[in-house]
């Protein structure tokens, strides 16, 4: 098959999948009440950040415990542009993507020299230090109080087409096109030469270097793309109402990593599954534990315990996550048939 034709097929496939995701969310949105609609908007937003981990850790083998901090970079960029310079939401989101990508470039320059535990520790320190910068330079970043921004009101032409739109639905409508676009970009990157290069670096750096791949440049590029994605997610996450250090805590970084691992680090479907899991799991646990008399102090820690155990169990019994388990199941059945 010619290169041109392969690319066309990959392009068509990713377009179809992104549209499918878009429609799936709209469909769910119509089934849900207001609370679950806002949760759905959260999923659409966080999915972008989880996809950045799929790229970084899953495809190129670099671990980051600081994606939440990069989300903060995106969030603060867009919020500052809106509140200080009076930019519109859409333009500020686009600019936030570029600012985060630039940040990713600097991060990548440092990260290309590091690997494994060094990278994990450094990004973890970053996850703690970056939100504290907002407190340190209080006059500029307004400290712990944070910057209030919001999604605003839906435009009239849209309400004319689809009727009355609630705030929850509007936040989903803003996030979803970006989510679909991010999915499209990630699918295309992973299924072409770029993705193969990343996987080669992940699996064996020496072999990749011998095959003519520039290791540092590849690693830096992954960081730029992943930071752009995380920054976009952070900008959208902030427009829910507030950009402040408490919105982007260290736990956010770990939650994103958990989502990616539970679903399967190397699979896009896994990223989607994992994001749904971490957003809806606390609600599910709350609903189940409402049937029992559990003191509130314990109930507060149940989601953390469940997610931690799930992460541990995944890593020990099935490191490829839900997506890997599904694949094994399919192989197993396939073998039985023959």
């Amino acid at each position: 098959m010619s290169k041109h034709r392969t690319h066309k097929i990959i392009g068509l496939r990713s377009t179809a999948l992104s549209l499918l995701l878009f429609l799936f969310f709209i469909l769910l949105n119509n089934q849900f009440g207001a609370y679950n609609q806002s949760q759905l908007a959260n999923i659409a937003t966080l999915l972008i950040a989880v996809l950045s981990i799929t790229l970084l850790t899953g495809a190129s083998g670099q671990i980051s415990l600081g994606q939440g901090a990069i989300m903060a970079v995106g969030g603060y960029s867009s919020a500052l542009l809106v509140t200080r310079l009076g930019f519109s939401m859409w333009i500020s989101i686009i600019l936030a993507i570029f600012i985060s990508a630039l940040f990713g470039l600097f991060l990548g320059l440092a990260a290309a020299r590091l690997s494994g535990p060094y990278l994990a520790g450094t990004t973890l320190v970053m996850a703690l230090a970056i939100p504290s910068i907002a407190v340190r330079f209080e006059t500029f970043f307004s400290g712990d109080v944070g910057l209030s921004v919001d999604y605003g009101m839906p435009p009239i032409w849209l309400t004319n087409i689809v009727g009355e739109i609630s705030i929850e639905e509007w936040s989903l409508y803003v996030a979803l096109p970006f989510t679909a676009a991010a999915l499209f970009a990630v699918l295309n990157l992973l299924n072409t030469r770029t993705g193969r290069t990343w996987r080669a670096v992940r699996d064996n750096e020496v072999a990749a270097a011998l095959a003519g791949i520039n290791i540092s440049r590849t690693k830096i590029f992954v960081f730029v793309v992943a930071s752009a994605l995380a920054g976009l997610a952070g900008a959208l996450y902030g427009f829910r109402g507030l950009v402040a250090p408490s919105v982007y805590p260290t736990d956010l970084s770990l939650t994103l990593l958990t989502a990616a691992v539970i679903g399967g680090l190397r699979s896009i479907g896994g990223a989607i599954f994992g994001t749904f899991a971490i957003v809806f799991l606390p609600d599910l646990i709350e609903r189940v534990s409402a049937n029992f008399t559990i003191p509130e102090t314990i109930g507060n820690y149940l989601p953390g315990l469940t997610i931690g155990l799930l992460l541990l169990l995944t890593v020990i019994t099935n490191p490829r996550g839900a997506a890997g388990a599904l694949e094994d199941l399919r192989h197993h059945r396939h073998r039985k048939k023959h």
Partner: protein
């Protein structure tokens, strides 16, 4: 001058605690090739056990000893139950890739951290509580002038010094210490000379658990105790380990003291808000200027 002395002495005491944390990290890294991000979660857990014992009218020292033993047991348990099965899986496709072999244990240790925090929250309600110290945290007086050092600082420095001396004796004078150093340097050859590398590795986890549990006991009288209080200590300990050299035990202790002085001087001469940024800048500087650490040897660093 007085503020300089205050910074210096509190830096020494804090640095002693950081040295313990960083020593714990380096022990496991050398022995097992894993940076254990759950380490301070384990320490938090054992400090809660000590705190419970003291609340039930046991003496400070009996709680102290029990916490250290629990720290050793918990460290060994983490290795036996989680890390060993994880790294012995040879057939997994995911673990065949070079970068994933170091990444997966890191993720596992984060899972352990999450579980320990949630468990501590459930068992002990998760509110902040104080933790006693056997020595009053007042400045020592000679006549009527306050010295810049507190009794508690002296206590911390003394305990850590004793622990470091014991560790040094263990590694230089005992057969087990020699076996441990050997298996960190070359596990294959050590195995061939008839040493049970697996048990040695678990012992490393146990010692690391004890060291970090001691750090937890020494730091909580100042910071109070909650499931999240020791997170910062891990970050500082990691930075200290990188500064000193992840592969060097002496380096890790040195790194701990350096970090103690850096943080203490930033606290006194600048502002507490700057501490995080100072740590990040210091870590990045160390990584750029001397990635193998002050006492680390270049070829040992696994890149």
């Amino acid at each position: 001058m007085n503020s300089f002395l205050t910074a210096f002495f509190s830096g020494t005491a804090q640095g002693a605690i950081y040295a313990l944390v960083s020593l714990g990290l380096v022990l496991v890294w050398r022995g097992a090739g894993v940076v254990n991000f759950a380490q301070m979660g384990q320490a938090m857990f054992t400090t809660y056990i000590a705190s419970q014992m003291i609340q039930h009218n046991n003496s400070y020292w009996s709680a102290f000893v029990v916490a250290l033993i629990c720290g050793a047991l918990l460290g060994a348990l983490v290795d036996l139950a989680i890390m060993r099965p994880l790294t012995s899986r040879k057939n997994s496709q995911l673990l065949n890739s070079q970068s994933m072999r170091t990444t997966i244990p890191v993720i596992a240790s984060l899972g352990i951290l999450g579980v320990l925090k949630a468990l501590a929250g459930i068992l002990w309600a998760g509110e902040e509580r104080g933790f006693p110290s056997p020595v009053a945290p007042n400045a020592i007086k000679i006549g009527s002038t306050n010295l810049a050092i507190t009794g508690f600082d002296l206590f911390v420095i003394g305990v850590v010094f004793a622990a470091l001396v014991l560790t040094t004796i263990f590694f230089t004078k005992t057969g087990m210490g020699l076996a441990m150093r050997a298996s960190a340097l070359n596990p294959e050859v050590t195995r061939l000379s008839g040493i049970r590398v697996g048990s040695v590795r678990t012992l490393g986890w146990a010692i690391s658990g004890t060291a970090s549990s001691l750090a937890g006991l020494l730091v909580t009288p100042r910071t109070n105790l909650s499931p999240n209080t020791l997170d910062l200590l891990l970050i500082v300990g990691f930075t200290a380990a990188v500064v000193g050299g992840l592969s060097s035990l002496a380096g890790s202790v040195l790194g701990g003291f350096i970090l103690g002085y850096v943080i203490s001087f930033v606290n006194v001469y600048s502002a507490p808000e700057n501490v995080f940024i100072a740590i990040l800048v210091f870590l990045l500087l160390a990584l750029f200027l001397r990635p193998q650490g002050i006492l680390g040897s270049k070829e040992v660093r696994r890149v």
